[in-house]
């Protein structure tokens, strides 16, 4: 049996939706034991507030959205307003190496689960708090969802055509930037703890993390005052550079980063004369005459299936790929080779199709160990097997409402 790289790490998640749980999922996929804490009265918001649902019917255990971010975890319920439920939460934290939370700033402290308190009984605890604005600052208390924060961070302003409105990016785009960077922060803190025994209190602002993805544009603004603008699919360093309609109703994205690459493109498309056309002889010329060039290219792509066109262009050394639909991703042979989609049994879906992370390790590969948990599915297992409570003790806590 392969030892998973993070098999020695125990994580407890408080909160829900995307930004916190996605961190736990990625680390779980490489062996961490991750306990996702909810309550029966207030389950994870992704369980009921967002489609898709099995058979189109909202239900706590039929949410594809929740399932997508919570595979490979243990799911429990605790009533943190119940004295015994809170006591169990403290025991759980004491058992853990890492706490991840994405509630509004101050909520964890107010309910008795702030870092200062938790560290008194678990001084090596790594606690990561992630929210829109971070834990401090004049707008720290601002409520917000990632789909809108993406607009504040600047990505939406940079999507669309110059003469048109900004465009939406799908879902809480920025949340996953923060969760991915947050996963690195957790691992770094564990490394410091390994060397020093010291825990860490990590404050991750989803806003600030998102800005790292626009760091170049922000740097240029500070340097020269240039305000980056949306420009469709154009690029200052490549031409042609865009998406072109294909015969099969799809689109193909392609780009040429040198005059030689453009010449290759022209040969493949049977338009070798374009390479000698003075209107397209240089990058600047191709950009100046982009509209006419796009018409010429679209005439070729429109007679090709997107996949065939991409293969022919790639064979000639031209950057190209079909614009994959989300459905196409499930049939992509490259993603299949990487085992990106892994199916696991699920009581409601029958099978959940889980998404593996974008990287894997040669000697200690990751795994999707199980589908997302049903609400409270592992409460007894966690407290009996992981925390060592007796059946009688668990039953008493259940009767006292600790697991509501």
């Amino acid at each position: 049996m392969t030892t998973h790289a993070l098999a020695d790490i125990k994580i407890v998640e408080f909160g829900g939706y995307a930004a916190g749980p996605h961190i736990g999922k990625v680390l779980a996929n490489f062996g961490a034991t991750v306990v996702h804490v909810e309550s029966r009265a207030r389950p994870d918001g992704f369980r009921l507030q967002y489609p898709p649902f099995q058979d189109g019917k909202p239900g706590v255990n039929s949410s594809g959205c929740f399932a997508h971010f919570n595979d490979s975890k243990l799911g429990i319920t605790l009533d943190l307003k119940n004295e015994q439920g809170m006591a169990l939460a403290r025991r759980l934290v004491d058992w853990s190496d890492v706490v991840i939370e994405n509630m509004r700033p101050g909520v964890m402290a107010r309910i008795g689960l702030g870092y200062d308190v938790l560290a008194t009984t678990n001084p090596g605890l790594v606690m990561l708090s992630t929210c829109n604005m971070g834990q401090t600052g004049p707008r720290a208390d601002t409520p917000g969802f990632g789909s809108q924060l993406t607009a504040l961070a600047g990505m939406c302003n940079l999507t669309g055509f110059p003469d048109g409105p900004p465009m939406l990016l799908y879902g809480p785009y920025i949340d996953y930037i923060a969760s991915t960077l947050g996963a690195s922060a957790v691992l770094a803190a564990l490394e410091r703890r390994r060397r020093t025994g010291q825990g860490a209190c990590i404050d991750v602002s989803q806003y600030e993390c998102g800005l790292m993805f626009l760091a170049g544009s922000l740097f240029e603004y500070h340097r020269s005052g240039t305000i980056a603008q949306r420009c469709g699919n154009a690029d200052p360093a490549a031409a042609p550079h865009g998406a072109y309609p294909a015969r099969d109703g799809g689109w193909i994205a392609l780009s040429c980063w040198s005059d030689a690459e453009f010449a290759s493109l022209c040969r493949v498309t049977g338009q070798a004369e374009l390479a000698d056309d003075i209107r397209y002889a240089t990058l600047a010329a191709r950009q100046a005459n982009a509209a006419a060039l796009d018409v010429a290219l679209a005439a070729w792509t429109g007679a090709q299936d997107a996949a065939t066109a991409a293969e022919r262009l790639q064979a000639a050394g031209v950057h190209a790929h079909p614009v994959s639909s989300v459905a196409n991703l499930f049939d992509d042979p490259q993603l299949d080779q990487r085992g990106l989609w892994r199916r696991r049994p699920h009581d409601v879906f029958g099978e959940q199709t889980c998404c593996f992370p974008a990287f894997d390790l040669s000697d200690t590969p990751g795994e999707i160990t199980c589908a997302a948990p049903l609400l409270g599915e592992h409460t007894e297992r966690v407290f009996r097997q992981l925390l060592g409570m007796s059946a009688k003790d668990v039953a008493a806590h259940e009767a006292a409402g600790a697991f509501d």
């Binding site: 790289a5 680390l27 401090t136 600047g154 939406l168 490394e191 949306r230 079909p322 974008a358 390790l361």
Partner: protein, 377 residues
Amino acid sequence: MLGGIAVLDATDRLGWLAGRVLADLGADVTKLEAPGADVADAEWRALNVNKTLVELDFERAADCERFDALAADSDILLATPVAGTAAARACDYARLASRHPRLIVVAITPFGLAGPKAGWRASDIELMAAGGAMSLAGEPGKTPLRVSAPQAYAWTGAQAAVGALVAFHHRAASGRGQQVDVSAQAAVITALSHAPAFVSVQGHTPTRAGAYMTGRSVTGARFRVFWPCRDGYINFILYGGVAGRRTNEQLVAWMRARGAELGALASIDWEKWSPTGVTQDEVDAIEAPIASFLAGIGKREFLDEGHRREMLGYPVANVADTASDAQLAARGFWQDIPGPDGRTERHCGSFAIVDGERLALRAGGAPVTPTRQVKRT
């Protein structure tokens, strides 16, 4: 937190953010660039700050020897191997592992090291296409769009940093390095949120919805996201749940205070209202008076009043708006450090605050002779 960890960064732009993330977390990152590389480029400067620059040309035998010496003293190598190149041969995991069994080699490529597309060429637009993201941005039925500031490289670098640290964690127990295979295409899929679940659960393929949000109502109703305002656009969406109720109540209160026409808003019980089951006609009737109101509001006014009223929603900011945001200044997000020409450069600071402090960036960008001594852990 990663103090004493030596990272050798031999990446092109597909991997720059990986080294930046590790440097922001305290690692000692050495960035290799060929002589003549454009280190004045804004993207280069922004993502390679906090690293030490060393000029190295893999085409020269002597520099390959220098590379091997640097690798010998490194814990993590970040590479973006392009098959058939001298750099790829130098960064080959099998070759390096035989000499340095503790070295972690993070191989970052557009599609992964193996598979039918392993050798395919892809820049940001092809990766955003391959990862499905372009299918979800743009007007319905019209040209799929990427973000005008490249995102695929950043998604990839962010994932690569996680992979590097997962392998590093294991090395602490095993004493051995290993290879991390990072696919940029797969990294972009992270950006799709739960869109794949629509396919697997319902057999429905999400598509681009322009300036509207879909996927929230079982009736298929779409909700406006971008609203023209006095000096640009505002991002506002009708949400349900506890947070949505408060926002919607506060918006109506704000509109009422300004004497705005409420229309269908006047009769809604936000405690009972949910986006999950509403029809398009119902959505349109609610949104009409909101559009009229927001058309007269400015971006900064919406940000300030929205905060005061604890409302969900933000202005659609540009980089100038971001640069002047008091929230970022208050948290010390911007860091000014001297550039290689002596002029002050303003950078995004390190991305996390740890134990109350944001780790300071170290100036980078001027080539140095490698004299690093690495303390092994």
